[in-house]
């Protein structure tokens, strides 16, 4: 998930700034010869298996599969103010997929963002990260994709108007922002850290969501992991800007990425739910490596942050929040709509996070909380998974705002949010869009064996 509208905005800017000239200066890549589709027998089973894990880390399925559609057959619409970009078919179908792509062509796409014919690919495909993927891993990914079931599904025409439909414009964007080999091993660090860095900066493309983008739609290198936007969700800051009630550490990150929830933070929702759904199936050593590297990114918390964390935990343990709530409506809504689960004393993910520890409530941006209150959490088909009813139908914007303000005041020591009601209005609009296009929920991992005792 990359903030597509910003990307397109960036492209526009490039064009308007006269970047076209630069763009033309970029070499046009030749097509790479089509091959006969190799067929699944051509690949080593162990290689395919490794490719499966890598594809999960890369979250490939979520962009390349539409709800109810065939796996990896593409067609996911990414609406932008300038039109809609559709994800492509990456099954080994000869005519409509990548069946005629050689491994070299695949690697070039990953590394430099060209299709087999040599056309530029839109950077919604995050090759600014994938460029870091090793040849070996590209080979495994290729093997995995080429052994999927071929699906005949012609690419849907992107609905972009001129000049956004001109692929050469992308050349300019690449020239400005595509840097190769942004990941370099660091001998001072452990092998685990290096593995994590390789994955995070490369295939896992975490920064695509968690790093803010500049006016031209590219990640701001100076503000890496300072928090970003995606589909009207706020991707939390993961560096020292993090406002999580309890500071993250490697263990918490590992558990969260692996299980999809952590009692000191909450449950992964929105686009992140899809990510953790995938990470639940990959080797835990890789998830651990990602966690170790990201813990380094967020740095050892300052004494001040530590104290805040302790205070949050303390408040979570005592059942009563800060006294004197002037917000009676919020309190009544909370008591019935929220507390029946969130104060049930059941551990996550089935009890609802103890709100004093909720990262969403401590966040400077109330959007995620608004989203979750409006839409709730849908059950995953046939699997143990948290359920939360959405309140979009039962609460007005003013009522949701009252609840959000109440939660913020009661469960965090952060200053009140400003313009909560506006956020709620936006969230309600976005929620409608989200529900219309979102893929079916993925298997949120939940451990049925876990102790229900405190």
């Amino acid at each position: 998930m990359t903030g597509p509208s910003r990307l397109v905005a960036g492209i526009v800017a490039v064009v308007l700034l006269g970047g076209a000239a630069i763009a033309f200066a970029i070499v046009w890549r030749p097509a790479i010869a089509a091959i006969e589709p190799p067929g699944p027998q051509a690949f080593d089973a162990a290689l395919v298996k490794r490719g499966r894990d890598l594809a999960a880390i890369g979250n490939c399925n979520n962009c390349h599969t539409v709800r109810g559609g065939k796996n990896f057959a593409g067609g996911l619409p990414v609406p932008t103010p300038f039109g809609t970009i559709f994800s492509s078919n990456i099954t080994p179908d000869a005519e409509t997929g990548i069946g005629r792509w050689s491994e070299e062509a695949f690697r070039r796409a990953m590394r430099s963002g060209f299709n087999r014919e040599g056309q530029h690919l839109y950077p919604t495909f995050p090759y600014d990260h994938f460029t870091n993927v090793s040849d070996e891993d590209d080979r495994a990914l290729y093997a995995f994709l080429m052994t999927r079931q071929p699906v005949r599904a012609a690419a849907r025409e992107n609905q972009l108007s001129f000049p956004f439909n001109q692929r050469f414009a992308i050349a300019g964007w690449k020239l400005l922002f595509l840097r190769h080999d942004t990941y370099q091993p660091d001998n001072q660090q452990s092998a685990e850290w290096n593995r994590g860095a390789y994955l995070v900066e490369g295939l896992a493309h975490c920064g695509a969501c968690h790093t803010p983008r500049n006016a031209l739609g590219a990640e701001r290198a100076s503000a890496q992991f300072a928090g970003g936007d995606v589909d009207n969700w706020h991707a939390y800051a993961l560096n020292d800007q993090s406002r999580a009630a309890v500071p993250w550490d490697a263990d918490a990150l590992f558990a969260y990425l692996r299980d999809g929830f952590h009692p000191d933070h909450g449950t992964a929702r929105g686009p992140m739910a899809e990510v953790v759904g995938n990470l639940s199936s990959v080797p835990s050593s890789d998830v651990r490596a990602i966690a170790v590297y990201m813990a380094g990114v967020s740095r050892t918390p300052t004494p001040d942050r530590k104290r805040q964390g302790e205070a949050a935990l303390e408040q979570a343990r005592s059942s009563s929040g800060p006294a004197s709530q002037a917000n009676a409506a919020g309190a009544s809504i909370y008591a019935t709509a929220c507390a029946s689960c969130h104060e049930s004393g059941r551990p996550l993910p089935f009890g609802g996070v103890n709100l004093a520890r909720s990262t969403a409530i401590a966040s400077p941006d109330p959007r995620n909380l608004a989203n979750i209150v409006l839409s709730g959490v849908q059950a995953v088909e046939g699997e143990r998974s948290p359920i939360m009813p959405g309140f979009a139908n039962s609460m007005t914007d003013a009522q949701v705002s009252a609840l959000l303000s109440y939660l913020r005041a009661r469960f965090s020591n952060q200053p009140p949010w400003s313009s909560v009601e506006k956020t709620v209005q936006d969230a309600r609009r976005a929620q409608t869009a989200f529900l219309v296009k979102s893929p079916a929920p993925h298997g949120a991992p939940a451990d049925p064996q876990q102790r229900e005792k405190p």
Binding site: R52, F350, A379, G382, I387, P448, Q449, R451, E452, K453
Partner: protein, 743 residues
């Protein structure tokens, strides 16, 4: 007769004018304890145990006809079916009848409403009683008109003479006319003349259910009624060590806190007050728990290592015994929950030493016995009235809730007490469907037929229904608790864990062993189809494995081993309607599966073909369509039967693909719909077709549970067909399927 009965009896008689309508329940009760010594051969169905006609049918002087059944309507729609049967045999309009269901004050003791036996027991009794009543009315008319019986006919609630003169049943009925014993055989109507039976009559209970009429025990509101909630222990065997109730007693609306040993409950004027107080009381209660549950991720080892009583329930040997190719397989089923949508509920009231309990129990009489024992009251002072609840699918929390209500009502004489379980309580405390293990081994002869067959099944009992107080939670939790009755295997031919363990197919050599496990780590009882669900799943999965080994089409393979003609007919019907063809290949990512069983080997026949799609990347299975054929003898209400089979397939699909009770070393951890997921609309099949093979004049065969086993096996076989991988451990979850594909 007890006081409440008399009240009702007066009410029943009120409309009767001068005529005293006989009332034979006391006779029926006497019969119950002391079955008729003489009078063989016995009459059919439940007339055996309750032979007086007026226990089943009463007609007053105005011609009002009331039909009584000791069975409970649980959403199967048989109240409507009984009404059809009675209307048919009595020759009255369907609408002119009223059916009264299970009530210890009014109806016969027909034990439990279970095992798909209602049509066979009660339906047969009502049919024969109605036929005999009609004969009696005709005879009376013949006497009064001085005409031969043959010249008279019945129509629309009257006997009609050749000259058109009509004598209504109301005019004809006399004092004790129906207070006679049932004859062994009544002359039933010619099926060809049926006007009501065999028609899809709309169910009588549906209008109220779709317009907000009072339909359920949950909807009862008696004057001055109070609301109770239970605070259950956190786990089996937990002891209440400390509970300061003083703060809770002061909460708004709280009427009383009731504590009796580990039984903790409270009563409040209003329902939400009761819930708030329940939460406060729950927080105040301190429990001591013991870790006593087995490991849930290794049920196979757990079940097969517990002490068991082994019995060979079937053996046949025709040498030569050994075949050429032999395979073995082990199948498991976890504990599964009934999972009623409406948690259990009951209302009880103690007035002048008489306890009345309104309950959705499946057995008003057995439950009354248990409650009376718990309260140390004579059974005659306790009356249980069945009021419909949410569908129960076997022995769920209904009886426990009835006991809860009675125990609390005793502490609050005069006031009706409504107890409603919370969702978490229903999930944690209902008696689950038992876990099971089956081991199968068979070999094929040179002709590709099964030469010998071994079947071993391990399971607990499948019924801990009340009868004694000790089967109910309240009685177990009291300070002077009642011991849980010793679990017993249910006798064959119906069986419990071994229900449907004996193959219906003909094999030259076969041996079936039942390993009955008395020790019960988890609270269990009867769940729809009992052992038949897993046994049929195992047998029918294994039949497919063997068919694969023999290289024979699964449908053909079954027919090769089946002599039962009605069984063959349903298999052929389902296969044909599905479009099953030998050597077929399902579309990409899809598989076809087939399965068949005759429930209990003596009730309805059912064959199901299904088409399942499996997502190879995620492992997610989706039942696309299912086609069933069913033979349940004479069909009374075809639409009702279709509804039942459709429901059985859909429910069994949910059990089979998704469901297992989870627990840690002491607590049940699947305590709501998050932790015990069941089917939602996103996974509902595109179509389910049910084809009925009607058998006019043949006995009614129970059908409510016949679909569970075949549906499970049919889906499992389709998944195997789609993926090439055989899954033998229920449930066949997405994760297990994915692991199998990736392996």
């Amino acid at each position: 007769m007890t006081a409440p009965m008399n009240i009702d009896r007066r009410r029943v008689l009120a409309g009767g004018g001068a005529l005293i309508v006989s009332f034979s329940l006391s006779g029926a009760l006497a019969q119950q304890q002391d079955p008729p010594a003489a009078a063989p051969p016995s009459p059919p169905g439940s007339l055996k145990t309750t032979p007086y006609l007026d226990a089943w049918i009463r007609i007053d002087a105005d011609g009002h006809i009331e039909v009584f059944t000791g069975k409970a309507e649980l959403g199967q729609g048989f109240k409507t079916a009984f009404q059809q049967i009675a209307a048919e045999e009595l020759d009255v309009a369907f609408e002119s009848l009223k059916v009264t269901t299970a009530d210890t004050g009014l109806t016969a003791n027909e034990g439990y409403t279970a095992g798909s036996n209602s049509m066979k027991d009660s339906g047969t009794a009502i049919q024969n009683a109605a036929a005999q009543a009609r004969e009696l009315l005709v005879a009376e008319a013949a006497r009064r008109l001085d005409l031969p019986i043959e010249n008279l006919r019945t129509a629309d609630g009257a006997v009609v003479a050749p000259d058109g003169k009509r004598l209504s049943y109301g005019e004809l009925v006399t004092g004790d006319m129906l207070h006679v014993q049932a004859q062994p055989k009544s002359k039933l109507k010619d099926t060809a003349t049926f006007k009501v039976i065999g028609r899809p009559v709309p169910r009588v209970d549906i209008p109220a259910k779709v317009t907000g009429g009072a339909a359920y025990v949950q909807d009862m509101r008696l004057p001055r009624m109070v609301h109770a909630r239970i605070v259950r222990p956190p786990s089996y065997g937990a002891q209440l060590t400390e509970c300061d109730t003083s703060a809770v007693e002061k909460l708004p609306g709280v009427v009383k806190v009731v504590r009796d040993g580990n039984f903790l409950a409270l009563v409040a004027e209003k329902e939400f007050q009761a819930i708030k107080a329940m939460n406060a009381l729950g927080a105040a209660a301190k429990w001591q728990e013991t870790a006593r549950l087995p490991r849930q991720d290794d049920l196979l080892a757990v079940l097969t290592s517990l002490p068991s009583q082994n019995s060979t329930i079937f053996e046949r040997s025709n040498s030569p015994a050994s075949g050429r190719k032999t395979i073995e397989a082990t199948y498991t089923r976890p504990y599964q929950a009934h999972g009623s949508i409406g948690p259990s509920c009951a209302v009880a009231q103690l007035i002048d030493g008489k306890m009345t309990v309104w309950t959705h129990t499946q057995g008003v009489y057995p439950d009354r016995q248990g409650i009376a024992e718990m309260l140390r009251m004579p059974p005659a002072s306790v009356r249980l009235i069945h009021v419909e609840g949410s569908g129960c699918y076997g022995h769920n929390g209904a009886d426990d809730a009835a006991a809860d209500a009675a125990l609390i009502a005793r502490a609050l004489p005069g006031r009706p007490v409504r107890v409603q379980w919370m969702r978490e309580q229903e999930h944690a405390w209902e008696p689950f469907g038992p876990a099971m293990v089956t081991k199968l081994k068979a070999s094929l002869d040179d002709g590709g037929k099964i030469a010998d067959w071994h079947f071993d099944v391990w399971s607990n009992t499948h019924s801990m229904r009340p009868g004694g107080a000790g089967s109910m939670l309240a009685a177990q939790h009291m300070a002077h608790p009642f011991a849980v009755p010793a679990p017993r295997p249910l006798p064959l031919p119906e069986g419990g864990g071994d229900r449907n363990a004996i193959p219906i197919y003909t094999f030259p050599n076969a041996k079936v062993v039942h390993h009955f496990i008395p020790t019960m780590p988890i609270r269990i009882s009867a769940m729809r189809a009992l052992g038949a669900y897993h046994n049929v799943f195992s047998i029918e999965s294994f039949m497919d494995e063997l068919a694969g080994l023999a290289g024979v089409d699964p449908v053909e393979f079954r027919l090769k081993h089946l002599e039962d003609q009605r069984g063959r007919a349903v298999i052929e019907k389902a296969a044909q309607a599905f479009g099953w063809k030998g050597g077929q290949k399902a579309p990409q990512d899809r598989g076809f599966g087939f399965a068949f069983a005759r429930y209990k080997n003596l009730a309805a026949y059912c064959a199901i073909a299904s088409e399942v799609e499996v997502n190879r990347e995620t492992g997610r299975p989706h039942l696309v369509r299912a086609v069933a054929a069913v033979d349940s003898g004479q069909v009374v209400n075809p639409d009702g039967l279709i509804n039942q089979i459709e429901g059985a397939i859909v429910q069994s699909m949910s059990w089979t693909l998704y469901e297992s009770v989870t627990f840690d070393d002491s607590r049940i951890t699947s305590i709501d719909w998050q932790t015990y997921p069941i089917l939602r609309f996103d996974a509902v099949p595109e179509s389910i077709e049910v084809h009925i093979i009607d058998r006019p004049g043949q006995p009614f065969l129970g059908s409510g549970e016949t679909g569970q086993g075949p549906a499970a096996a049919s889906i499992a076989n389709a998944i195997a067909n789609a993926t090439g991988k055989r899954l033998r451990n229920l449930p066949l979850t997405r994760k297990r399927i994915k692991e199998a594909i990736d392996a």
